[in-house]
Amino acid sequence: MTVTTEVNEHSPEKLLTPVLSSFWDAEDAWTLDAYHRHEGYEGLRKALQMPPDDVIAYVKDSGLRGRGGAGFPTGMKWQFIPQGDGKPHYLVVNADESEPGTCKDIPLLFANPHSLVEGIVIACHAIRSNHAFIYLRGEAVPVLRRLHEAVREAYAAGYLGKNILGSGLDLELTVHAGAGAYICGEETALLDSLEGRRGQPRLRPPFPAVEGLYACPTVVNNVESIASVPAIMNKGKEWFRSMGSEKSPGFTLYSLSGHVARPGQYEAPLGITLRQLLDMSGGMRPGHRLKFWTPGGSSTPMLTDEHLDVPLDYEGVGGAGSMLGTKALQCFDETTCVVRAVTRWTEFYAHESCGKCTPCREGTYWLVQLLRDIEAGKGEMADLDKVADIADNINGKSFCALGDGAAAPIASSFKHFRAEYEQHITGKGCPFDPRKSTLWSDQEVDA
């Protein structure tokens, strides 16, 4: 790995495009003052000059796709809201970031909460909503503090409340803290939770756009999707489309974590590769090599070092047999036991299964029992087929995507690392030393 000294097409200065993260290094980045210094609320002023339908069309033309995992076009989601129906419309922002590996919305809201608030006002103007909610996972109190403060500042400055900037738009914004349940990241479970119920997914149709919160038309968008809207309105859809690809335009936050030299947030155009991100950031930790990684959290099928050059956009990762998901790039090196990793993820899905549907509730339970035995060297070869069969009975046959997520690490690890499972069975134990994969394992050597 070489140290680059001049700026060329491989330089981070060229490859990265900080927009949402462009002033996170300011000491008071999270304040309205700092946001104003960086063209804050300029996009809103432009949007309020436009009729709501034009805003929807503009966002649709920009090509912005949902950043929460599914990649559905944001403008199209807004367009589905029936107009003139006489019912209240709601915008609900999904800030229940809990997908294992995913860590982009929490730092974004911590450092730049006003980008979300501004995006909310624009979106509510577009879909003709007078009440929006931010559903923040409860386990992030430092972010909750800053959202409380950002909303207070926005009300005081006239960006929320009655007749916003003289436009005639009235908007209330409620910050709502969840109480610990991964399933509430699923949009219909989130709505049930916001209605004060157990967070369990709803049958669709009706879709939230028709009957969402309180059975009224509702848009549910991820934090990063909404926070990207102000920059699009301010700098233009052509500017946005100048980044990324035709089908996956724009910038996004990539979260690098695990056994890498420099974990963190990297904002880049869609389509950058893991190799490019690792090259610029110092690669894997010294003396180690990449073994497996997730492109977008544990629910996206894992990839290996064969996939370093896959463009990290919706089509590219899809073409490699996985999903872009939340762009949570969890990288594990050769010291990591795949069986241990997958068993732990499976324990997570079993713990977080809401219990509503049988394949997921029962299937994840039995997967955990079998995988724990295999990891401990007490498994039999026939267990591998049983695990694969149960995973197959969950995948696509569960009530919501949690079940698909639970099956993904199993199916993908079987595809790439079946020999390692067999090794646990024939060798009657785990061949890896967990101490070698810790953060501090190489420190004695380095010192």
Partner: protein, 246 residues
């Protein structure tokens, strides 16, 4: 039935929960009214109100659930169904400081498993148990959206990033001794009850609490610093072992 032995579960129906003291009832009712006013439908106030009753007693009691039911016109069964679904509501008395060690895959592999095991040995308590002095409850938690700071420990839901076995042991020792500890991201610790009040939607009133620990943590800025040419790209030295940005 004169004395109720806690260890024997006869499966008998329980008597209705005792009410709060009038002063507490009045104060919480005013808070509940404010929470309810934030929503078009009162039932939406249930999750924040469960945080509210938790801020009163440190866990969700039968009295707290009865209070929520009365305020919202729900049955206690409906409230219990919700309170038992979410992991942040405690069902039994616990410590002033809830120490959660992330043991989801990435943190576990990076050292979270070792930290969690060592903390339990060090404190002599198991998962979800509290030290005798009532200060610290240890539990393992799921991914808390801080993977670029792994391994992560949360205390009362403030971030303690890049922990080691030693730093985590020091942390719980400091908490038990009443020494100040500073989260790497978040504000100076308040008690679990005070945290629950913020979660109920009542902003932290402490001077400077919102601003503490600055705009963003170091890992959050990794990409930005590269993009601005403020740190050298492609270094092979782990930044954890050397000062960054010089």
């Amino acid at each position: 039935m004169t004395t109720a032995d806690q260890s024997i579960q006869l499966g008998m129906p329980q008597l209705p929960a005792p009410a709060y003291e009038p002063e507490v009832q009045e104060r919480l009712a005013a808070d509940a009214k404010e929470i309810i006013s934030r929503y078009p439908d009162s039932r939406s106030a249930l999750l924040p109100m469960l945080h509210l009753v938790q801020s009163e007693e440190g866990h969700v009691t039968r009295t707290g659930m009865q209070f929520c039911a009365d305020q919202l016109g729900l049955t206690t069964a409906e409230v219990t169904a919700v309170a038992t679904f979410y992991t942040m509501y405690r069902r039994k008395p616990s410590g002033d400081y809830q120490v959660g060690v992330c043991t989801n895959t990435l943190c576990a592999v990076m050292g979270g498993d070792a930290i969690f095991e060592e903390l339990q040995t060090h404190l002599g308590v198991g998962n979800g148990e509290t030290t005798d002095d009532g200060k610290v409850t240890v539990e393992h938690i799921e991914c808390n959206a801080a993977c670029d700071y792994a391994p992560v420990v949360m205390v009362n839901w403030e971030f303690f990033d890049n922990q080691t076995v030693e730093s985590a042991k020091q942390l719980v020792d400091d908490l038990r001794a009443g020494r100040d500890v500073q989260p790497t991201r978040g504000a100076k610790l308040c008690t679990f009850k005070d945290t629950a009040r913020i979660l109920a939607g009542f902003p932290d009133q402490r001077e400077g609490a919102v601003a503490e620990s600055g705009g963003a943590g170091p890992a959050s800025l990794a990409g930005l610093k590269l993009a601005k040419g403020e740190s050298a790209p492609g270094r092979v030295v782990s930044p954890r072992d050397a000062e960054e940005g010089e």
